[in-house]
């Protein structure tokens, strides 16, 4: 018995390692391309469905798809309403694995494992194919694990303990439905449980009806799992998680109901349809069809209810401040087709990012009312990353000389805005630590705060009107003040002997950050000059 338990454990481990490996390697291969493609497809229902199916097949987890879509929605690449159908179709994308698992093709998968494993071990084939080879190797591992589990289950009917267990759950489809729901909470993959249910049926531990009910239980399990795990989610991620819970819960409960209606009334419903499609009574393919019906019902529920669901979810869980601030306001994938428009939008997005910085400083004046600085900073980093990816995308489109010059100037300015964002965040945090009631250095710290705010607002002026006087003013205001700052630090340290070492260190740190911010704003002014005449930059 202990040998069978070890066999089962080893099979289970290989199975889950295989699922995780497929996900990791295929995501590495296609992630960026697939994300962009999904965003483009999301506005066309058929393509959105195909994209969701493909993404579900690649990741083998509609929860993972929901998570990735959350980042696309947060990044402003698609709306929640467009993301929901993709999540729904991702459920159906997990079905092919279950069909493969139901086929008796272990010899083919052993060859696959051997060939892919040897190619990886001896570094055969081009390097660009390695992620695909790794994914295939993990497919082989998954099926080897499944085979081991089947072998572990095979002798079970001859054991006394098993016969007692089988007698205990004999005829109880509801018990396997509940077991499926609970397992889904633990395992987080409906297709994995469906495959295990097939293996259990193959080993004789469950009847086909019970195995089907275990699969239906996973639908309810998704809802239960999200109910338990989503309490820390807010805004858009919670909307998408609740949607997943809703459509899977509806499909699980609907098929459970249909099972009992069929069982007691004799009306030909889900199980009869599965039997008609796979006539052999022992065929595990019959169970794969049951899983297909479960996931199809989830898609159907989504198609019927996604529009009202989007409105309801938006009311139930509106976007958080961070999600609002993390959404780019101007850049759009559609504009990439026209480089001039795309550059204009990237310019506006950079300026909008810069315009957030005075609000970051304002958190020091109104600490209670404001969005916390750390939240603002995380949001700014998200937008900055989107702008960076957008500029990279434009650079990859071989822009003409004029567009290339402007792109170069925008890239330079973006690096400065990102550095400024980080510097202002560090400055705000350090100043918040130092500004206690009765702080000896309060006048200096206040003057740093108000001065930096003035310089930031002046820098913003240079982006809104093409007045050369504004640029000249910013250049004069941001002249080097290293000697002045050093003098002020020395004066303060001499007059305030009560400061401890940590306070002195913080004081040096915050004044250093101020000087860095001023230097960056000076570089920003120079970058503005370059943007006003981008051709001059490439000529020099």
């Amino acid at each position: 018995m202990s040998e069978l338990a070890a066999l089962f454990l080893a099979g289970l481990a290989l199975f889950f390692h295989g699922v995780s490996g497929i996900r990791t390697h295929l995501q590495g291969l296609t992630s960026r391309r697939l994300r962009r493609q999904l965003a483009a497809w999301s506005r066309r229902p058929l393509l959105a469905g195909a994209g969701g199916f493909l993404f579900g097949a690649v990741t083998q987890s509609s929860t993972a798809v929901a998570f990735i879509l959350t980042s696309l929605v947060s990044g402003g690449l698609m709306s929640v309403a467009h993301a929901l159908p993709i999540v729904a179709w991702a459920n159906l994308g997990t079905v092919p694995l279950v069909f493969f698992a139901s086929l008796n093709a272990h010899l083919a998968f052993l060859y696959l494992l051997g060939v892919a494993g040897l190619a990886l071990a001896f570094d055969l084939g081009p390097a660009r194919l390695r992620p695909a080879l790794s994914a295939l190797f993990h497919v082989g591992l998954l099926f080897l694990g499944l085979q081991l589990m089947k072998e572990a289950f095979a002798p079970l009917p001859s054991f006394e303990g098993f016969r007692e267990l089988a007698a205990f759950i004999q005829g109880s489809a509801l018990a396997t439905f509940v077991a499926g729901a609970l397992l889904r909470v633990l395992v987080q993959s409906s297709s994995a449980i469906a495959v295990i249910a097939i293996a259990l049926a193959h080993g004789g531990l469950l009847s086909l009806d019970q195995a089907a009910m275990m699969m239906f239980g996973t639908g309810a399990g998704v809802g239960l799992s999200i109910f338990l795990l989503s309490s820390n989610l807010r805004g858009v991620p919670r909307q998408i998680a609740l949607y997943q819970a809703l459509i899977n819960g509806v499909s699980g409960l609907a098929l459970c109901t249909l099972y009992y209606v069929e069982h007691y009334s004799g009306a030909p419903l889900v199980l009869s349809l599965s039997a008609a499609l796979a006539p052999s009574p022992d065929s595990p393919v019959r169970l794969a069809y049951a899983f297909l019906f479960l996931q199809s019902t989830a898609v159907l529920a989504a198609l019927v209810g996604s529009r009202p669901a989007a409105a309801w979810l938006a009311r139930l869980s509106p976007p958080t401040d961070e999600q609002d601030l993390s959404r780019p306001r101007f850049i759009s994938n559609e504009a990439l087709a026209d480089p001039d428009s795309a550059l204009e939008l990237a310019d506006k997005e950079q300026v909008a990012l810069l315009a957030q910085l005075p609000a970051q400083l304002d958190t020091l004046r109104q600490p209670a009312a404001a969005v916390p600085p750390a939240v603002r900073h995380r949001a700014a980093q998200t937008v900055a990353a989107e702008i960076h990816a957008y500029l990279r995308e434009l650079a990859g489109q071989s822009p003409d000389a004029q567009a290339s010059a402007r792109l170069l100037a925008l890239e330079q300015r973006h690096a400065l805005v990102v550095s400024l964002t980080d510097t202002i965040h560090d400055f705000t945090a350090a100043l918040a630590r130092l500004r206690g009631p009765g702080s000896a250095s309060a006048p200096l710290l206040d003057s740093l705060l108000e001065s930096l705010d003035t310089l930031l607002l002046t820098a913003l002026d240079t982006t809104r009107a093409s007045d050369p006087d504004d640029l000249a003013l910013l250049l004069r205001l941001t002249a080097d003040r290293g000697d002045l700052m050093e003098r002020l630090r020395r004066q303060l340290l001499a007059s305030e002997t009560a400061l401890d070492h940590a306070q002195k260190s913080d004081l040096f740190y915050v004044t250093g950050l101020f000087e860095r911010a001023v230097w960056l704003l000076r570089q920003f002014a120079l970058a503005q000059q370059a943007l006003a005449n981008p051709a001059a930059v490439t000529q020099t």
């Binding site: 003057s447 108000e450 003035t454 607002l457 006087d469 205001l477 003040r481 002045l484 002020l488």
Partner: protein, 111 residues
């Protein structure tokens, strides 16, 4: 924030007292900018009773400097306390605004 206007020869003197914060900046904007944007004018700000300036105050002063340059006027700030003078230097405004230590001697010299 208190703003008291007076005349000294060809100069309009605005005596500022208190804090040049958001509300004070709006008052100063309303008092100062129309004088400078309606033609060449000479305006002196007596800052000897000024305690504090926020970024919005600095912005009004920078806007006023721009207006006087555009219309060929004159603008000077007199009597800043040493602490406030440091404040202006940290913000870099001493490179843009005409700061003088004492109002009387400055007006005498400008005459």
């Amino acid at each position: 924030m208190q703003i008291t206007p007076s005349t000294r020869g060809s100069w309009t003197v605005l005596t500022l007292a208190g804090k040049l914060d958001n509300a004070g900046s709006e008052e100063l904007r309303a008092e100062l900018l129309p004088r400078l944007s309606s033609g060449p004018a000479s305006v002196a700000l007596d800052c000897s009773a000024l305690d504090y300036v926020t970024s919005s105050g600095f912005r009004v002063l920078l806007q006023a400097e721009k207006e006087q340059r555009k219309h060929g006027g004159r603008l000077l700030l007199a009597g800043l306390t040493p602490a406030l003078r440091n404040f202006f230097e940290i913000a870099g405004l001493h490179t843009v605004l005409h700061l003088v230590p004492d109002l009387d001697s400055a007006l005498a010299a400008e005459r």
